[in-house]
Symmetry: C3
Subunit: 143 residues, 3 copies
C-alpha cells in the first residue's frame, strides 16, 4: 500500500506522543496539551467553526470548552488508534487517526462510548520532538 | 513469554499496515483492501463458510457483502489492537489480533459497539511490504 | 513533552508485551499471566485491597477471582492502549496505560463495554525480556 516510507521508529514515536497528549487532555492539564502544538498551531475541535490558534489560544479554548462540565462532571478517556502516517511534500507528516471517547459520570457503573471521530493532523518533527501544526476533527455522529 | 523474537521494527510496521488496511475498508476502497492480500490470499469473514480467494475474489466478496448496507447506511470503524506476532517455521508470521467494530448510523448520536472479534492472520513480508496470506475471523458473539 | 527518552524500540516491545499478556489473561492461561511478573511481583486489581504477591500468589488469586464466572460465563477482551512510558531513576520503567474491557455473554448479540481503567505498572527489562514488578489498577467507575 502507498505511503509506507514512514519509518517504524517514527510510527512508534507518534503513538507515544498521542498517548501522552491524550493522558494530559483527560487529566485536564491543558497547558501540556497546548504545548504539544507548534507556537502557531491550530486546533479545530468542531467542523465548520474557526479553529483556536496559537498555544495560548488553544489552552484558553480548552478552559472555555470544559466550563460546561463544571456542573456535570465526567471523566473522559480518549483512545487514539489506527494511526496512518504519510509524508507530505513539504516535510510535514499527514496523520489520520481514529479516535474513540469513553466518558464515565460519577456514580455510573459503566462508561458511555461516544463520539467516534477521525482526527486529521499535520505533524512536524524536529529538535523539540513531535508537535501538532494543525488538528481538525470529523465526527461520525451529528454534533 | 514465548515468541518474542519478532523485532520491534516489524511490530510497528504491522500496526501501521493494519491501520491503513482498516481505514481503506471503512472508506470502502475495497480494491486497496484486496490488494493488501497476496495474489492467492484467502479471506474468511464468517466461520464455517468458504473463504474468498484471490485479490479479485476478495474484492468481489466485499462488494457483495456491502450491498446489504445500501438501504441501511452505516459508518463502520474497525479497531485492530492487542496484536500478537509469532514467527512460523516456514518464514510466515502468525498474527492474532483483537478487533472491535464501531458503527454509526445516520442521525444517531452515538456509535454501537459490536462485534468483538479475534482475527487470525498469516502474514508474509517481502519486497512488496506486508501482505495477508490468509485471514480467518472468530466472533465472541453468535452471528 | 517530558519523558520522551524511552526509545521507539522499547515502546513497541512494551506494546507487544501487553498484547501477549492480555491474550493470555482473556484465554485464562493464568500461569502465563503470572509468569509475566517478576518473581516478587505484586498485582493489586482492586484499589484499597492488599495486592497478590509472587507469581504463585498472583496465579492463585486469578484462579480464585474467576471462580465467580463459573456459573456466569463471559468472554472478556482487555484492550490496553494509550501507553505512556517514563524512565524511573532506579532504572525501572513507569508505565501508565488506559484499559478497556469488553465482555460478551453466551447468546448475547453484542459486547458490554466496562470497566474503563487506568493501569499503573512498574516494568523491568532485562535478559528475560519485559516483566511487571508491580501493577495497580484504578477504575473510573465505582466498584
Amino acid at each position: 500500500m502507498a505511503g509506507q516510507t514512514v519509518t517504524a521508529e517514527l510510527y512508534a514515536e507518534v503513538q507515544h506522543f498521542y498517548a501522552r497528549q491524550m493522558q494530559a487532555l483527560d487529566s485536564r492539564v491543558f497547558k501540556t496539551y497546548a504545548d504539544s502544538f507548534t507556537e502557531d498551531g491550530t486546533f479545530r475541535h468542531t467542523p465548520g467553526t474557526e479553529p483556536a490558534r496559537t498555544r495560548a489560544g488553544i489552552e484558553a479554548e480548552l478552559v472555555r470548552f470544559h466550563e460546561q462540565y463544571q456542573g456535570d462532571p465526567v471523566q473522559k478517556r480518549h483512545y487514539f488508534n489506527q494511526i496512518v502516517l504519510d509524508a507530505n511534500p513539504d516535510g510535514t507528516l499527514k496523520s489520520t487517526v481514529y479516535a474513540l471517547v469513553l466518558r464515565t459520570r460519577p456514580g455510573a457503573d459503566r462508561p458511555e462510548v461516544w463520539p467516534s471521530c477521525v482526527v486529521h493532523d499535520v505533524l512536524v518533527t524536529g529538535a523539540d520532538g513531535i508537535l501538532v501544526k494543525s488538528r481538525d476533527i470529523d465526527y461520525d455522529q451529528q454534533i
